[in-house]
Structure formats: C-alpha cells, structure tokens
Amino acid sequence: MKLLVCVKQVPDSTVRVKVAGDQKAIVPEGVTWAISPYDEYAIELALEHKDANPGTTVGVITVGPPRARDALRQALAMGCDDATLVTGADVETLGGLATARALAKVVDEATPDLVLCGKQASDDDQGFVGQALAETLGWPHVAIVTKFVASDGGTEIWKEVEGGHEVWKASGPAVLTVQKSQKDPRYPSLPGIMKAKKKEIPEKDLASLGADLGGPSVEIRAMEPPPARKAGRVMKDGDPKALAAELAKLLRDEARVL
C-alpha cells in the first residue's frame, strides 16, 4: 500500500505562546517547533501499518516555511520513507482551502492509496484541511480515525464515536483524519535520526503547483494573550453547603465552564 501523511509544523505544546504587539500573530522567536500532535498520531498509524505489512511505503508532505523541513526530518526519523516540502511566498498565511488545494496537487502526482492527517492542527485548532483535501480530490473521507486495516476490495476504517467505534469501508482511495490513541507515537531511533539527517527533502514551489490559491480565508482580527493564571480564590471557613453554592455560582458565572 502507498500511504501519504500530511503534517503541519506548529509551536510545541510546552511553549507558552506570546502574542505579538500588533495582536495578529504569535511571536515566533524562541518558539520550539514540532509536528502537530494529531499529525504525529497519523504518522504512527501509517508506520504501524507499514510494520504489519512490509512493502507499504509512507510518504510525508507539508505545506510550510523552510523551517518546516525539521518536522519532515522528524517524520523521516520515525520511519517514513520520503518527504516533500511545499513552500513559497506567503505560505504562512495560506487559507485552509488553498492549503488543501495545494496538497491535492501533490497527492494527485503521488497517487497514494490513502492519505492520512491529524484531525486538527494545534495552531489553528480548526479541523478543516483534511476534509477540504478530500473534497478537492473528490475522495471520501473518514474523520476521528483510530485504526485501519486493508481488506478485500478496500480498507476498513475505525471511527471513534460516543460509546464505541463505527467501522466504515472505503472501496478506493480515501482521506483519514486521525485521532489520538492510547499508544504514544514512536520515538525515533538514533539510526533513524542519523539516516534522516542525510536524506534529501525535495522542495516544491507553491506557486508552480498550479493550484487555485484563492478562495475564502479566515482573517485574524485580534489575538489575546493567554490570561495569566491569577492567584486562585481560596474558599474556606464556611458551612460546606454555603461554600458549595458559592463555588457552583462562580463556576457558572465567573469561570463560565458550566
């Protein structure tokens, strides 16, 4: 089987993002970049399939700035066979639909059996590009996937829902957006890291793909820095019932988490 994984490089989850002065973006300096966590699970799912079915190839692509090469190297180190970087001017402000169309061009050329990606990226938290890619390709898609198995005449795909899993069967190529699973994505071995360092990562120019990069996009009007964790409110010395009522009210009205 030929698998293709689409990944995005995002700030690592441990980074405390800082909002820039103009409030339109985060400050990139000092940010540790990593493969978006759900995308890592997508890579892991693809590699597990490869482990079980020798002869499977796993390619990985990303649309992003030059630093996104590091994310591709990480994917190669984990065990992917080849990687492609799609980059160019204005690549960081590309809208979701445009990204999907650019990816679709690369997918068309590569003709994989399945395309996998994380169910959402940890920077915009949207969960759109996977579905948009499927739409552009004219393929079916299954979201929130935890497992897939090649079977007679297609692929059986497990989708996580409340209370269990729906099993779907795709008779041809499909896009899978992948959910986190119990098992962590594999840590690359050192030989894998060393090999990946030497591997060539071809670059494709965004503009030359011939994709329609227009279409609606989401504009960021303003970003608010994460609220500093205020000192907590200590509640004590009272009748438990009174404290309980007060806390319930606070959670509903002040914290607004109910």
């Binding site: 690592d12 989850s13 441990t14 980074v15 405390r16 540790t32 990593a34 098992k183 962590d184 594999r186 840590y187 690359p188 071995s189 050192l190 030989p191 894998g192 890291i193 060393m194």
Partner: protein
C-alpha cells in the same frame, strides 16, 4: 627437600605438567580469544593508581572486608594469601621435580613456617566454608557441585602438603638448621620409620598431581577468578564512579550500545570470567530486595554465558552478530529497566566488576537502536528535548521559583563568582522549589556572590544518559556547556546530586570543565569558616524562609531543644561521589538537630530511594516500591526520628511519596539538609528576600 622424581618419574612429572597445564592452558587461550572479541577499550590511564589498587584490593583483599561479611571476608583472605604462598611452594616443587632447581627462599625456616601456618588457616577456612554450605546455607547462595569439588581439592592439597612436610621432616629430607614448623613438626613423629620416605613420596605426588588437576580444572569454572582477578582489578575503571563511559563520534557509528557481544569491551568480558558468584552484589541490590526481576549477578553471568555460547560462532564468522545481549532472554529488558544505577553492586563486588556499565550499555542499545525504552521514560525524554525538562513544563517558567527573591541571572550579573545550577526538580517541583529558596537564603546570608542561568538553564540530560539515550544527553550537556562558557563560568553549585554528578564528572567528556560543588559541601565549608550563623535556641522560624508556612500539624520536636533527624544518603552524592561526611557535618552544626543513622543501610551501604537510573520517570509494576522499603528501614532503625533529611530533590520526592502512602505524615517529615540550615539562619526572616 629433594623431590621423589628419580629416573622415569621425571618424565612422568613432565608429562603430567604438560597435560595439566595443557588442558588448562587451552581453555585459557580460548577464553582469551573470546574476550578479545570485545572492542579494544583503553584501560592504561593512571598507572600509579592502578598499581595501588592492585596492592590494596587484590593483594590486600580490601573489598572482602565489608560489613556484614567481615568473618567470611577474613576466611577468604586467608585462603587467598595462603594460596599465594603455597603457589610459590608449588612452583618450587615442580621446578625441583623436573629440573632439580629451587626457588630462592623456599628452603628457609621462614618459608616452611609460613606455609605451615597458612595451611592450617586455609584448612580451617575451607572447613568452615564446607560446613556453612552444607548445614547453614543462606537462601541466596546457590552451590553447584563444582563448589564442593574445589573445597575438596583445596583440602586434599593442604592435607597432602602437611603430610609430605611431616614426612619430609621425619625422613630427614629437610635441611637441618631450623625448628620444624608447628603442624608438620607435630605429625612428623607419627611418620617416622622406614615408611617415612614412602609417605613423603606418596604425599608429594598426591600434592603435585592435585595441583595439576587444579590447573586443568580451574579455567573451566568460576574459580578462574583466582587468576583473572589480578588483571580485573588492575584494569578497573578509573573514571569517577558516577561517570558513564563516553560515546564519541555518535554521528559516525552504525550501531549504538551493546547490540552484539562485540560491543562490550574486552574488560567487560573479563568481568564475566572474574565473577565468583558470591552474590554480594545481589545482597545489596534494592531492586532485587523489593521483588524486581533484576539480579546484578545474573546480569554479569548471563553476559558471560552468552559469550561462552556464541564465542565460537563470532570468532568463526567476522560478520556474524549473534544474539543482542539485551534480548538474550525474554525478560532481559525488564531486568535492565529495573536498575536504579545506585551502584550498590559495584561497591559491594570484591573483584571490581562494573555491573552498571554493562546494564547501561544494554540500555543504550534498547533506547537508541530499538527506541524501546519504557513509554513513560520516552515521554520524559521527549519533554527534555522539547521543553528542557522531563515534566514538559514551559521553558519560560524555569526561573519562576525565584520571582520576588531578586536573585540575579548571569545575564544581569556576569561577574558572579558562582553559578547556582538549579536543576529541573528545584525549578519546577513545588516541594523542591522550597529547597532552592533555602539555598538562596543560605548563600545570601553567607555573602556569597552567585547567580542563576534563569531561562537559559536547561536540563543537563542526566535522565537521558541513565536511560541510555546518549544522543539526547550530549545535546543537552552541550547546550549547557555553551551557556556556561558564554558567561565564562568557572564555579558551579548544585543542590542536586544528579546535576552535580553529570556536570562534575561527565561534562569534561565533552570539554566542559568546571569546579563543581554540591551545595552541602559548600555549606559545610561556609559553616566551618564561620560565614553562616544559625540561631542557637528558641522556636524555629517557621515563617517565610521558603515563602511557605510549614505544615502546622507537624511541629519541630523541641523537647529538650532537639529534633531527631535521620540522614538518608543519596546514592549519587554518597556512593557515586563519596560525599558522606559533609552533609553529616552540616547537620551536626545545626543547633537543635540530633543526627541519627539508618543503620545498617547507610554510607556505602545506603539503600536507594528508587528514583535513580531514570526510574523516577518509570512505573514500578512488581513487588514493593523501593521508596516504601526505604521508609520501612527508616522506621525500623529510627522510629523516633521526626524528620528524615537528604541532599537530593529526587530522594525528597520519593521519601515524601513513601511517607504519604504509608500515612506517616504526622510522624516523620522528609526534608533537605539545606532546609534545616535555612530554618535556623540568624535573621532568617530577612535572609530569604
């Protein structure tokens, strides 16, 4: 004494010698070639120290005399020394028998007496050994038939020696001019008469043939240690004990860690030959003691056995790799991950085997080649890589513990004399942040010029190295070395023995050389210099030394103005770096503290808290928690101690967990020694700010 080897008997003797040494020698040759399958580690550094170790450890048998093995150690030492002396005699006998020559000195009364006395000592010792094995065998001892064979052989040797000495005196074959030695002289009369010559000859031949049988048999058993201990001690690692072996040129290597038997060095294989199967390492291992599958002796012997099994294959085919030692049995990885690298085994081993290095080499294979470290450990490593600390807390929060304390960073004060390397635990763990604050207060009160790296500090990679991910360790260590050198750091203080160990003993492997002090060593000298003044009496200032009110439920026991505090030796401070006295001296200098010991598990025999070797980041699935066992020991030894003090953030976390789990929060509180000092600093309410 002339040997009874006239005429044809000389030929017989020569043939017997050839046979005995031939069989033995062939085996030794084979073992040597197997050993050389290992890579060529250079162990020729520090020749003077090596020679000294040889004299003290090998000849002096110093490591035999550790508690609780004193009597057994003495018995063995006597057997060994006796063996040395008697061997000299044996050489003399053979030379005499074949060539009619004598080794100089062997005809003297002194020699005869020495031999006699040692023969008695040896006989007594082996009798003791035999009785113990037969009637009082400890459960951890496994005695193979070979054990009894050796005892019998030695017995025969000694008895035959005594008999022919006696007979020699009786038959007046002994040069006159000295008093007959005790035992030989005692039996001589019984052998007088015409039979004396016969008895002499008979006993002589029994003795010599037994020696030759010994020579043939020895190399096929663990008793080869008699010979291999000599080089094993001479070529022992002279690295600081806490320092793991460097791996240079990671970029160039194709395999990492012990993927095959060729990836152990010749010295590591020599360790296998030298294991006497005494079980002292097993006795001291905290993992084994708490029911984990790890037995250090088994690790050593399994590697040896694998070499013996696969030696021929590997010698025959230079491309063959054989079985990876970490997969030689199905449970091997579990055994390896159970190790806390506390080095109690290395400390206990009388023949200087290096168990920890073997275990780490196999871990390196699992971690780097197979990416097979336990998942929780992997997570900690990924966190170190991405966030600079094993908990995955934000890099930007690293210096938050110092908020409001006005502790300068090196960027703000580049000429500070000392860098206080805080470490991940004191930076992020709330409990340990109090220790960092305590140290800052102490250093301030002593007027020391210091600064921290603040956000430029990142994990020094110690957990990565212990888990076997050498690559990540190098990355982290290099990052810190670069930061240190950017500020021309010369002196470093740490409050964590793991930070201390890697910065002091391992950074030099990457070119980072600094003067490193653990906080307690520094505080000890500051106290002795009179730069730290502690309040003599009165209630302890429980206020704001560390910015937190201490638990109101457990008060300092000032009955009679003292609190009883037990000291727990952190493995990486004590056993690994031999810092036993400074923390104790500091405790003794704190007014109102009565220091007690967790005997017998203290100092070199300290029992691990369970967090070392990267195990802080792993789950214990089997047996009793190591830290719970430690608390049991504490309570058994010192039920009156209201506090247990150590000098390590991980020991603190583990002891806190253990005390909590056992519901002992009211009875005993874990603290850091620095907190004891800080809480009594004169003018302490100001000292922290």
């Amino acid at each position: 004494m002339t040997a009874p080897t006239q005429g044809i008997l000389v030929i017989v003797l020569a043939a017997a010698v050839a046979l005995g040494f031939g069989i033995g020698g062939y085996r030794v040759w084979k073992l040597y070639r197997y050993m050389r399958l290992g890579w060529d580690e250079d162990r020729s550094d520090r020749p003077a120290t090596r020679l000294r170790d040889e004299l003290v450890i090998y000849l002096g048998q110093s490591k035999l005399f550790k508690r609780p093995y004193l009597v057994r150690g003495l018995a063995h030492a006597l057997i060994f020394w006796g063996f040395l002396v008697i061997t000299l005699g044996t050489v003399d006998l053979l030379l005499n028998g074949i060539f009619g020559l004598h080794v100089p000195g062997t005809e003297t009364g002194l020699f005869a007496w020495t031999i006699d006395l040692f023969a008695i000592a040896v006989l007594a010792s082996i009798a003791l050994a035999g009785v113990r094995r037969m009637f009082f065998r400890p459960p951890t001892m496994h005695v193979a038939p070979g054990g009894y064979v050796i005892l019998v052989l030695i017995g025969v040797l000694m008895l035959s020696l005594l008999v022919f000495e006696s007979a020699g005196i009786a038959a007046e074959l002994v040069k006159q001019g000295f008093t007959p030695p005790p035992l030989a002289g005692l039996f001589a009369p019984a052998v007088r008469g015409p039979y004396a010559h016969l008895v002499f000859a008979g006993a002589w031949w029994v003795h010599v043939l037994t020696v030759l049988a010994f020579a043939a048999y020895l190399p096929h058993t663990k008793h080869l240690h008699i010979v291999t201990t000599l080089p094993n001690v001479l070529f022992r690692s002279q690295r600081p004990r806490g320092a793991l072996r460097a791996m240079a040129d990671l970029e160039e290597q194709e395999t990492f860690g012990a993927a095959t038997m060729r990836d152990f060095s010749w010295k590591q294989h020599l360790d296998g030959y030298t294991c006497t199967e005494c079980g002292r390492c097993s006795d001291q291992c905290p993992a084994l003691a708490t029911g984990k599958p790890l037995d250090p002796q088994k690790i050593v012997l399994d590697v040896r056995d694998l070499l013996l099994r696969e030696g021929d294959l590997l010698m025959r085919d230079v491309h063959a790799s054989g079985t990876p030692p970490a997969h030689q049995t199905e449970t091997k990885p579990e055994e390896l991950w159970a190790c806390t690298t506390c080095a109690a085994c290395v400390e206990a081993c009388p023949v200087t085997i290096e168990h920890v290095d073997k275990i780490v080499d196999m871990r390196r294979f699992l971690a780097m080649m197979e990416s097979a470290a336990p998942p929780e450990a992997q997570r900690a490593l990924t966190n170190i890589e991405r966030a600079g600390n094993p908990w995955g807390e934000s890099r930007e929060a690293r210096a938050d513990w110092a908020d409001g304390l006005e502790i300068p960073t090196l960027a703000e004060k580049p000429d500070a004399e000392y860098l206080y390397f805080v470490g991940c635990a004191a930076s992020y763990d709330r409990r340990n942040q109090r220790v960092a604050k305590a140290l800052a207060a102490i250093l301030r009160s002593a007027g020391l010029s210091f600064a921290i790296l603040g956000r430029e500090e990142t994990c020094n990679g110690d957990p990565a190295r212990r888990i076997g991910n050498e690559y990540l360790w190098q990355i982290q260590a290099q990052a810190n070395i670069e930061a240190f050198d950017r500020y021309s750091v010369r002196k470093v203080i740490t409050s964590c023995p793991h930070c201390f160990n890697t910065i002091a003993n391992e950074f030099p492997q990457l070119g980072g050389r600094y003067e490193v002090l653990h906080a307690l060593t520094l505080v000890d000298s500051l106290i002795k210099e009179g730069r730290i003044r502690m309040a003599r009496e009165g209630p302890v200032d429980r206020g704001n030394v560390s910015g937190h009110p201490e638990r109101t439920t457990s008060s300092v026991d000032l009955a009679g103005g003292r609190e009883v505090v037990a000291y727990h030796d952190p493995c990486y401070l004590g056993r690994h770096n031999k810092i036993y006295d400074a923390p104790r001296a500091v405790m003794d200098a704190v007014p109102g503290v009565e220091r007690v010991e967790i005997e017998p598990h203290h100092r070199e025999r300290g029992f691990c808290c369970g967090a070392g070797g990267g195990r802080m980041w792993m789950e214990e699935q089997v047996g009793q928690r190591v830290n719970h066992r430690r608390i049991d020991q504490l309570r058994a030894a010192q039920a009156d101690a209201t506090k247990v003090a150590s000098g390590c953030p991980f020991c603190l976390i583990m002891l806190e967990e253990g005390v909590g789990a056992k519901g002992l929060q009211e009875q005993v509180r874990p603290v850091d020694v620095l907190e004891l000092v800080a809480s009594r600093l004169e003018g302490s309410a100001d000292a922290s700010h």
